[in-house]
Each structure stands twice: as C-alpha cells, then as structure tokens.
C-alpha cells in the first residue's frame, strides 16, 4: 500500500462510512480491553474466553423471543447466559470434583453448540446466522443508523459508546474494590469487601462487552479483544491504572488499523483486528524496555562483556600482586580482544610485551578482587565448606557484589583484611 493511497483511504474514510466503522470498532475494542485487563490480572482470561462463547445461546434465545440485535433484551439474555456459565462451572467443580478448566471446557462448548443450533433454527431475516456468529459484519454496521440531533448515527456505534461509557463509569466507581480484589482476594474478603459481588460484576461486564462486540466481530474473536491488549499492556507497565489506559489505547488503535488493513486486503475486519492485536502483543514482548526480549538479549550480552572485562582486570591485578606480570598475557583470541578494548579505554597500559593497570583500571580491579576475597571469607566463616572449594563460587559471585553488598559482607565478619587463603583483601577503591 503506498502512502498516497493510505492518505486517500483516510480522507475518504474520515468523511463517511469508514470513519463510523472504525469509531464503532474502536469503542468496542476499548470496552473489551477495559474488562479484559481486569480478567487478565485476576488470571481469569479463560473465564473470559468461556463467557464470550457461552453468551451465544442467550443472544439466540433473546432474538428468537423477538429481541433486536444490540437491544436490551439481547443484553439481558447474554448476561443471564454468562451467569449460567459461571454457576455451572462452579457447580461442576463443587459437586463433581472437576478441575476448573475441565469444567469450563464442558460448559462453554456445550452452551456454544446449543447457541449455534438455535441460530440455525432462527427464521431468516433475524440478522443472525452462522457467519455472523463467527466473524461479525463490521463493514455493514454503519448502514443501520438512528437519528441523533438530526444526524444519522450508526446504531451500533451508539450502543458501543453507551456500553463503553457505562463500563468506564462502573470501573471508576468500583476501582479501589477491583484493585484490592485483584491483588489480594483473601485480604479483601477480610477487609469486608464483597468479593463475590465484585467478581460477579466483572463477569457481567464481560458479558456486556461481548454482546456489544457481537455484531461487529462475532463471538469467537472477542477473546482476542479481551485478552491481547491487556496482555500487551501488562508487559509494558506494572501499574494497574496505567495498564487499563494502555490496553484501551492498544485496542482502539488495533481496531482502526485492522479495519483499514482488512478493507485494503478485502478480507474480514474482525479477523484482521485480531491479527493486529497479536502484532501489538509481539511488539510489546520484543521491545519492552526493562524485560522485553530485545532488552534481555542486550542485558545478557552486556553482562557477559562486563564479566570478561572484570576478569581480565582482576587477572592483571593478581599477576601484579604475585609479581609475575607475564602471567596476565591473554591466552585466547577472545581475551586478546578484551585486552585491546581495555587498552583503548585506558584501563590497561601496554608495557613492552605485557600490560599493567592504569589508575582507573586498578580501582576497578581492586573492587573485583575485593568482592572475590570478601565472599570467600564470608563463605568460609558461615558455610561448611572446605578451603579448596571456596574459589569456584567466588569466581562468579564477584561480578554481582556491589559496593553496598561488599560493605555488608565486611561488617558481617569480625576479622578483616585477609581471605581464608591468608591473602590480603584490598580496601574499597
């Protein structure tokens, strides 16, 4: 897709149908992300999956009873079906000894199957067929409008926006309860918070968000809109209120991008929105600053490099201590590279065929050796280890002791200044 056609799409889209479709998808996605965040942090993602399938018979019964898709009767039917799912799953666990996932596996597949059969029985022209159940019909929604202040506004957008507003209001009103219940259900119960009611509310909200999404994306893909933005947001931030905002933004963006991409590629908007959500998650997993894949890879390489540098500096220091500078000559190509680098950074100074420490290099080397010997001394004192077994553990611990840990180790021993082998522990540089 060239940029000019994309701009063209946007210009056309902003003027009309596409804008409404995207706006509808965005409010729906934001609603799902809001609910989904709470589901994810409470480890209830699969409950969300189960509910999003299980609302189908509720919707179907409501439609067969004369309800209009997106109307109040349908919402009522869906919430009832969601409650039935949860009640049945818990009942099976209590009365039949089923594990939670096995129980959910029985209940939601059965309810979904019943829903599909009911949909098959629905009279033609009721806006409900198998294709709609599976992937919705986002592209057609803007054509069904109602008049607001003289302007035609898609019914689905009004419904979605209303649901979003309601869910946001409910979330703001019960925020403290939700946070407390999410992180410490037992404590919340002790503190008198009605945990069961809070959970029921969350499940009802899941059902409402699912129904609001149903016409646009069907019942199966809702799980992506519930879980993917929340899972991505969880990687990006650790604070719950930020997570909610980030998840809603990711959901809304994915809805718009997915819709446009689907329109360009002539395929299902619902499917494409799920794909974009997956891409967002993958990007978050790869690029999160602290513990994303890229950051961890870089951290690993940097640690390996630091260990190599410190080992080299300490080797030169020990060689100087022993008065045998030749012992510090690099033995392998890898070590030679490290030495070149240390020379370049001014930590080592070339001295004929060998190297000696610059003042900066000496400071660093002394801290490493000090870490090593302090650790040996500490282990020798507090663990039941023979003398000849002290060196290998210290060999990697030395790279992890900061100045503060060294001080604590020193303070934790009575005698100082010598390690168990009788060598001097250098002072903090």
């Amino acid at each position: 897709m060239t940029s000019s056609t994309l701009v063209g799409d946007l210009a056309f889209g902003l003027g009309g149908i596409h804008a409404w479709a995207m706006a509808t998808a965005a409010v729906i996605a934001a609603s799902c992300a809001l609910v989904g965040t709470l589901l994810v942090v409470r480890r209830m993602s699969l409950v969300g999956d189960a509910i999003s399938h299980a609302v189908l018979p509720g919707i179907a019964v409501a439609v067969l009873a004369g309800g209009r898709p997106g109307g109040p009767l349908v919402f009522l039917g869906a919430v009832a079906a969601a409650m039935l799912t949860v009640w049945l799953t818990q009942g099976l666990r209590a009365a039949g000894g089923l594990t939670e996932d096995a129980g959910a596996g029985v209940v939601f597949t059965t309810l979904f199957a019943i829903g599909v059969v009911l949909v098959g029985l629905a009279p033609p022209g009721t806006h409900l067929d198998a294709a709609c159940v599976l992937y919705g019909e986002l592209a057609f929604l803007p054509f069904d409008t109602i008049s607001i202040a003289g302007q035609p506004v898609p019914r689905a957008f009004v419904a979605g926006a209303t649901v979003l507003a309601g869910l946001v209001a409910a979330a703001v009103a019960t925020w403290k309860l939700q946070v407390f219940t999410a992180f410490d259900p037992a404590g919340a119960r002790m503190a008198g918070i009605p945990v069961a009611a809070v959970t029921t509310g969350l499940l009802a909200a899941t059902a409402v968000a699912t129904v609001a999404s149903f016409d646009a994306v069907g019942a199966v893909l809702v799980v992506a809109m519930l879980v993917a933005p929340a899972a991505a947001a969880e990687l990006l931030t650790r604070r719950l209120h930020r997570m909610v905002v980030v998840a809603m933004a990711l959901g809304a963006v994915a809805a718009c991008v997915g819709y446009l991409a689907a329109w360009r590629l002539h395929t299902s908007a619902a499917g494409m929105i799920a794909v974009v959500l997956g891409l967002e998650y993958a990007a978050a997993a790869a690029l999160t600053p602290d513990d994303g894949l890229a950051a961890r890879l870089i951290g690993r390489v940097r640690l390996a490099w630091r260990v190599a540098r410190e080992d080299r500096l300490a080797t030169v220091w020990r060689a100087e201590e022993a008065g045998n500078r030749a012992a510090a000559r690099p033995q392998t190509p890898h070590e030679a590279v490290v030495v070149r680098w240390l020379e370049f950074t001014g930590h080592l100074l070339r001295d004929g065929s060998s190297w000696r420490l610059s003042p900066a290099g000496r400071r660093e080397a002394e801290n490493v050796v000090r870490s090593h010997r302090l650790w040996e001394a500490w282990l020798g004192r507090h663990a039941d280890l023979p003398l000849d077994h002290l060196h290998p553990p210290a060999e990697w611990v030395e790279h992890h002791l900061g100045a503060e840990m060294r001080e604590r180790l020193e303070a934790d021993m009575d005698e100082r200044a010598a390690d168990p082998h009788g060598r001097e522990i250098p002072p903090e540089a």
Partner: protein, 304 residues
C-alpha cells in the same frame, strides 16, 4: 435412482463410521490430556488449525482432505509452539497466553479464509466448513483417512499408557526415576493436536476441543481406574460422534459439530447425575445416609 440413493446411503454410513472412529480416538487421547490437567491444551491447537487449512490451500491449490488436514496439523503444532514461546520468554501468565493464541490464531485463520475469494481463489468455497464441521461434504475416501488417523492415535495411546499415567499422576517421581517427562508431555499434546485435526471436518475448529474434553470428564464419573476410564471415554466419544452425524444427516441444514457436542454433553449430564458413587444422585444419597467416605485416620486403621 435407487442405485444413487444406495450409494448415497453407503457413503453416509462409511462417513459415520469414520467419524465415529475419530470420536473414539479423541476420547481415548483426551483422557490422557484431562488426567494431565491440561484439559484446554487442545483449544489453542484447534483454533490455530484454520490458518493451516487456508495455508495448505494457498500453497498447493488443492482441496482434498489429506492436504488440508496436513496443513492444519502443521498449524496446530505451530500454535502450540507459540504458546510455549510466550510462556517461556514473557511474563504473560499461562491462562492469558492460551487465550491470546486462541484469539489471534483464529483471527489470522478467519482473515485468510475470508480473503481467499477476493484474492482470486474462486474455488476456495467450502473451507469455512472447517469452522463448525460438516460431514455431508465428506467422501468415503476421507472417512478412511480419518479412521486411519484414529487407529494410529489409539495405538500410540495403548503403547504409552503406562508412561503417560505415571507422568500424569506424579511428574516429579517420573522425572526422578529417569522418565523424560517433557518428552512424554509433548507426545500427549501432540496426540491431542492430531485428534483435534482429525476432528476438524466433523466438529469444526471452534468446538473440536469438546471432543477431547467432554468424554473423559464424563467417563471419570463411572470408574476409579485409568484403563477403564480410557476405554469408556473412547466409547462415549464414539457414540457422541455417531449420534451427531446421524442427526445432521437428518437435518442437513445444521452443522455437524454442535450436534456432536450436544450429544457428548448429554452423555456427560447422565454421567454427572447417575453414575454410582461419584454421580451427584449417589453422593446426595450417601450424604443423606451419613455414609460419606471419611479420609480421617480412623479409616482403615482401626482394625490394626
């Protein structure tokens, strides 16, 4: 006319038998999965299969069942692989990872299947039958393929039942005594993926999980022995598949998958309510008589 009807009926019977064989094998394989407490492991694989069906069609241009199912199997394994990667390399918890793979892989599948006609693959119609299952489109040849896959899966379970039971019951002991626990786990999950794929034509991607979950859970109510449970689970799966196929043959408008699942659910309901000892009615009766089995230290100790 009558000859055609005869061939048609013959075809229906063969298809029903093939699907019933898949139902049996799915019940057998599902037992291991449920005992290992991985009831929903198959669901991620199931939702990923659609990508493979569409991908196999895109890559080969062929629509025969073997090609499409081979693609589905590759995609199912890829879906499970994604799950493993997400769990290993991110902070995302298991349940969210499973839901994520389910949603995103199904989305990709829907995108491909919906896009194919517009991308110039006019003969791609019919792939959506893999969403909810449709046995009317199957031929006798397809049925034989399914039966063969089912036979392989049942033979594999028979071969590793001892090892799988050990791992499912006590993975730590199995590992300590030298069994390759993760290898056996991969074998179990791989068999589940195989049965999910084999169940695809009849039950569809969305519901095929039920075929590996409901029969074992129902069978568990009747017995306290693994071997009995495995066979019973297979028989329940077989019956549910046969009933579902027959029902959809009677009402051609309905997809087969939901009917199979409803039949299995019926078997579950009967088991849950009526099974001796573990069934709900038996438990209530026992509780009413005050004869609940106690786990106290007096039980079985008193005589010593």
């Amino acid at each position: 006319m009558t000859a055609a009807a005869g061939i048609l009926a013959h075809n229906t019977v063969v298809v029903a038998l093939g699907v019933a064989a898949v139902g049996f094998a799915a019940g057998v394989v599902g037992s291991l999965c449920v005992l290992r407490k991985r009831a929903l492991a198959g669901d991620a694989a199931a939702h990923a299969t659609l990508v493979g069906v569409a991908g196999a069609f895109l890559a080969t241009g062929r629509r025969d069942l073997a090609t499409l199912l081979a693609g589905a199997l590759v995609a199912a394994c890829a879906g499970l692989g994604m799950l493993v990667l997400v769990r290993r390399f991110t902070r995302t918890r298991d349940d969210a990872a499973t839901a994520l793979v389910i949603g995103v892989s199904f989305g990709l599948g829907i995108t491909l299947v919906s896009g194919l006609p517009a991308w110039g693959y006019a003969n791609s119609a019919g792939l959506e039958q893999f969403l909810l299952g449709h046995t009317a489109a199957l031929t006798a040849r397809d049925a034989w393929l399914l039966a063969a896959v089912a036979a392989v899966a049942v033979a594999a379970v028979a071969a590793i039942l001892k090892e799988a039971t050990l791992v499912a019951f006590d993975a730590a002991f199995a590992a300590a005594t030298g069994w390759p626990v993760s290898g056996i786990d991969y074998a179990i999950v791989g068999l589940v993926a195989l049965m999910v794929v084999a169940g695809l034509p009849a039950v569809g991607a969305v519901l095929v999980t039920a075929l590996v979950v409901i029969p074992p859970v129902a069978a568990r109510f009747w017995t306290d022995r693994v071997g009995t449970m495995v066979v019973l689970s297979g028989l329940i799966g077989l019956a549910a598949a046969a009933v579902g196929v027959a029902a959809s043959a009677a009402r051609p408008g309905l997809a087969t998958g939901p009917l199979v699942v409803i039949a299995a659910a019926g078997a579950f309901a009967v088991s849950f309510l009526c099974a001796p000892h573990r069934g709900w009615i038996a438990r209530r009766a026992e509780a009413a008589r005050g004869l609940t089995v106690r786990r106290g230290d007096d039980e079985g100790e008193a005589g010593r």
